[in-house]
């Protein structure tokens, strides 16, 4: 095995660009998944089953099918329907939609974990619905919700390389481009492998610190 440090330093400028795109996709995808997951959770709490069933089936369908194929679907089918989006936008939408079906479960578990006595106390104090949610339920639910949400952000980080397949130049896309130009696959691919381990390890350390803060 021969390792060429020159190839590594040639790759580094592209690597930083790729890392930036990866983080951008991750940040936007997380925001969409947090918001959309909340929408799914609230829809699942509506009293009528005519809303709950379609939402339940749709979200289970999205959760159980490969993100890769969903990305292809969005990327090739939306333009046929007359909606043309940039690859990055499509990718962010795909990531957000896919992970919203996971975050909805986190929200649901967080809300259900608030003891029934808290709801009853809010009723006994005749708090309006708004106050019940903002002052009683949500502050308790958030503590339980943040750690698993953070885990899904880390999981999403590891799915961002899939955006390469629809032409987004994130870390893996950059690495592939550079290695095809220079016929050196080992260095760029190893660099981004290490980068993924480092970034996700740092993220999990941050998350653990945040968790400890919230418990206090």
């Amino acid at each position: 095995m021969n390792w060429d440090w020159g190839a590594v330093s040639d790759f580094m400028p592209y690597f930083w660009k790729g890392l930036l795109v990866t983080l951008e996709a991750l940040a936007l995808g997380s925001l969409i998944s947090f918001a959309l997951g909340l929408v799914w959770t609230l829809l699942m709490r509506t009293p009528t089953r005519w809303v709950r069933w379609p939402v339940g089936i749709l979200t289970e369908f999205v959760r159980d099918t490969p993100l890769l194929v969903q990305l292809f679907f969005l990327f090739y089918v939306l333009p046929e329907a007359g909606v043309t989006l940039s690859p990055l936008t499509t990718g962010v939408l795909g990531l957000g939609l896919h992970y919203s079906t996971y975050t909805m479960q986190v929200y649901r578990a967080g809300i259900e974990a608030v003891p029934a006595g808290q709801w009853e106390a809010a009723t006994a104090l005749s708090l309006p619905v708004r106050r019940t949610w903002t002052a009683v339920v949500l502050p308790q639910a958030v503590r339980r919700v943040v750690p698993p949400l953070g885990n899904y952000v880390i999981a999403m980080l590891k799915d961002t390389p899939m955006l390469m397949t629809i032409g987004v130049l994130e870390m893996l896309g950059r690495a592939r481009l550079v290695s095809q130009q220079h016929f050196q696959f080992t260095e760029p691919l190893t660099v981004i492998g290490v980068a993924f381990v480092v970034v996700s390890y740092l993220a999990s350390v941050c998350l653990r610190t945040l968790e400890r803060r919230l418990v206090r």
């Binding site: 993100l67 890769l68 899939m162 696959f185 190893t190």
Partner: protein
């Protein structure tokens, strides 16, 4: 869609299922080996196992697949058959996730059970095999069921390297027909049906195992 194109999709399903079965077997082996190693007496073994989990969980599955397909042959002179390369990449990655499941379930067994084993003079291996695993395995099934669905979704990634799995054959059909809505809808449905069957099958398995422990 013509019959020929359907045949292509059928072959794709075959490859995806094959990859799923091999990948799942390797995942289970890696999970139990690494998960059990994390409860080992020696601190060094525990540390190495934790490193494995951290590294292979940290690397994205897709990066891992690229690495096995493009770096291994060049750097180490190992040219694997695509099926084995795919199995290796998926099994090592998802095995790292599975090892956390195994470790968690082993840690959740009542400590008195382990102490009872020590008091009866069981060796560590006997304790693991006869006392801890029979109680821990049924508890792992729901998590492994989720992991299996993740693995199924992961098999679609090998299509990028040109392996003719379901996602790849779908792309070929799209190129042949020049229309994407229908074929991708079919693909997603097929994946969903496989995932549905897997989760229901795992539920049956869980019920059987729990009944056996209760006896």
């Amino acid at each position: 869609m013509t019959a020929g194109l359907w045949e292509l999709v059928l072959q794709g399903i075959g490859i995806t299922l094959q990859l799923l079965v091999y990948g799942a077997l390797l995942t289970v082996v890696v999970s139990f080996a690494v998960g059990a190693a994390r409860t080992h007496r020696s601190r060094l073994v525990r540390f190495l196992a934790a490193c494995y989990t951290e590294v292979f969980r940290g690397i994205s599955a897709l990066v891992m697949i690229f690495w096995v397909f493009f770096v291994l042959p060049v750097a180490f002179g190992w040219q694997l058959v695509p099926m084995w390369a795919g199995t290796l990449a998926l099994g090592l990655t998802y095995g790292a996730y599975g090892s956390e499941i195994v470790r968690g379930a082993l840690a959740a067994v009542d400590p008195a059970q382990r102490e009872g084993g020590i008091a009866l003079g069981f060796s560590p291996w006997q304790r693991l095999r006869l006392i801890l695993l029979p109680q821990a395995v049924p508890e792992m099934i729901p998590s492994f069921s989720n992991l299996l669905v993740e693995l199924l979704k992961g098999t679609a990634l090998v299509s990028i390297t040109g392996m003719g799995d379901l996602a790849f054959s779908g792309n070929l059909v799209r190129l042949a027909l020049q229309q994407s809505g229908q074929i991708y809808a079919y693909l997603l449905l097929i994946y969903f049906v496989i995932a549905f069957l897997l989760t229901r099958g795992m539920r049956v398995l869980e019920r059987r195992l729990k009944a056996e422990v209760a006896r």
